[in-house]
């Protein structure tokens, strides 16, 4: 039978494989057949996809299959899968083969997930467009002259085009939610510490979360339920007991809109679409309340202090000694200088330099410590707001997908495209991007996304509102 992987959900695939309508091998073939090489989705397609699928079929035969058995997934190429090339989109890791599985991969493998390949990303997840990869630009399937968003652009396009049923990305400042919005799929970021970071290439360690993409909210929730949980390999992982205790009853019926923030510098059509979404939620029985997050406007500046600071320390490990690329010079110091100078791309070099400046003597207090203090202030603003509302909504991105090359020469403009998503990582709370409609640009329909933000450890409310929003859409 013909399998339409662009429409098929995880639950449908599972029940059809249980019934024997098709096998995991058929499903893997269907995904592989859908890969459009023009879009440059994958850095590496795995050579054992069918082997993995055969194992999944054995699990079905032995009646050991779970909901995720045989489900083809694409994995952002900065998440370690043992024995697979994990490049992080960088030349410096061009030939690096992971020596262990990330915790999330270990969990997915246990369910019999079939990994299709490692997807393209902005180098070290630094970027909002998947243009900054050492392995070329990934294109938006809705308009190939436009970016898919980033940094997890390859994963978003893989889901949107049916090259897999679901995917993993990493979200440090919006790197799952923004490409989800640009590609018309669902993408979430969980509360910081709920999903283990062990085995994800570190960027901003106090911001990073491994996060799922899916076509529908249920698919994203299924993946999230599998990969979450305390992990002793991640020292910032939340104890399961703390998470359970946070699940107190709420009514989940009041949604806050930070009007003052949303209306600044946002594309007219995006704003109109956002207010349509507000109306849709109102019609679905939610009470809409205007809220004030007085320090939210500083979130982007805070982010662009904390993130490069953490980047500059995390990326110091790429020294050409233990793993990765080595460019030799006359002596050890020259080895370092040349290895980093040639191995890292431009944006990565820029952020390491910026982070080094921010953390250098004399500027540490003015930038880094001030940003940490402000981070707490913004967090308190959100805590205050969540006393009266159950969720906050914003557009996911201030514009639809932009043109390839449009912002690549202006780093600050690129940074501004993350305005709605970065604050969530700064604060550490969960948020999801769900498709909210389309806007026409150059005769092409481009998807938009609605971001739904909920209190710490309340992914449940986020999923509930998302299902309601999408379920009752026209």
């Amino acid at each position: 039978m013909k399998i339409d992987t662009k429409k098929l959900t995880i639950r449908e695939a599972h029940s059809q494989m249980l019934k024997g309508d098709f096998t995991a091998c058929d499903l893997a073939h269907a995904c592989l057949d859908n890969i459009n090489p023009e879009l440059n989705i994958f850095i590496e397609l795995f050579d054992d996809v069918l082997e993995q699928a055969e194992k999944a079929d054995e699990m079905f035969a032995k009646k050991e299959a779970t909901l995720l058995t045989g489900i083809p997934m694409a994995i952002k190429n900065n998440i370690c899968i043992k024995g697979k090339r994990t490049t992080a989109g960088s030349k410096i890791l061009e030939n690096y083969k992971a020596v262990y599985d990330a915790t999330v991969i270990r969990k997915l493998k246990a369910e019999g997930v079939v990994f299709i390949g490692g997807t393209n990303l902005d180098e070290f997840a630094m970027g909002s467009s998947t243009e900054n990869s050492a392995y070329g630009v990934t294109k938006n399937p809705f308009d190939e002259t436009r970016v898919p968003g980033g940094s997890s652009g390859g994963s978003a396009v893989a889901v949107a085009t049916g090259a897999c049923l679901a995917a993993l990305g990493t979200d440090t400042g919006g790197s799952v939610r923004q490409p989800a919005s640009f590609c018309g799929v669902v993408g979430m970021k969980s509360t910081y510490g709920v999903v283990s970071r062990h085995g994800a290439v570190a960027v901003g360690s106090s911001l990073d979360q491994i996060s799922p993409f899916g076509k529908v909210v249920d698919d994203v929730q299924i993946i999230f339920d599998c990969i979450k949980g305390n992990d002793e390999m991640d020292s910032t992982s939340i104890p399961d007991k703390v998470y359970q205790e946070a699940q107190v009853e709420r009514k989940n019926k009041v949604i806050g809109v930070p009007k003052h923030f949303v209306e600044k510098g946002v594309d007219e059509d995006v704003l109109a679409n956002f207010y349509d979404s507000v109306d849709r939620l109102k019609n679905n029985g939610y009470e809409i309340k205007e809220i004030d997050l007085p320090n939210l406007e500083y979130a982007l500046a805070v982010y662009y202090i904390i993130m490069p600071a953490e980047v500059s320390t995390n990326l110091a490990r790429y020294d050409g000694v233990r793993y990765g690329f080595l460019k030799e010079g006359e002596n050890l110091l020259e080895d370092y200088l040349k290895t980093k100078g040639e191995g890292f791309g431009k944006e990565v070099r820029r952020r390491i330099m910026l982070g080094t400046y921010i953390l250098s003597a004399g500027y540490n207090d003015a930038y880094y410590n001030k940003a940490l203090a402000l981070r707490d202030v913004i967090k308190k603003d959100f805590e205050e707001v969540f006393k009266t509302v159950d969720a906050v909504i914003t557009p996911t991105s201030p514009t639809p997908a932009f043109k390839i090359g449009e912002k690549s020469n202006d780093p600050l403009q690129m940074y501004l495209s993350d305005i709605f998503t970065v604050s969530i990582n700064v604060v550490g709370i969960p948020a999801i991007s769900v498709p909210s409609g389309f806007v026409k640009r150059d005769e092409k329909d481009l998807p938009l996304g609605l971001q739904i933000i909920t209190p710490e450890m309340r992914e449940d409310i986020m999923f509930e509102i998302s299902e309601n929003f999408l379920g009752k859409s026209a």
């Binding site: 020292s235 500046a301 990765g324 100078g341």
Partner: protein, 92 residues
Amino acid sequence: MEIKEIENLASLCRIDLSEDEKLELLDEMGSILSFIDQVQTVKLDDKKDVVGSLRNVMREDKNPHTEGKYTEAILEEAPKKEGGYFKVKNIL
């Protein structure tokens, strides 16, 4: 910021930069720094103006694995190695 500062930063982070890139970075760092400088305009209470609430989490380094269990796999990824060790140029 001056070009000397860019050069100093580059040497601190051990990155070899071309002359063109130094100039480019001088310009870009200027515009990024003037953007993030807005954090300086926020007045915080004295109490709040301290390091944030995030702290390091430590654990006991217990149940170590058998010595050498992962050596081969890890060294497999090293650019240069010799007899179970990473190989680097003279340090002194």
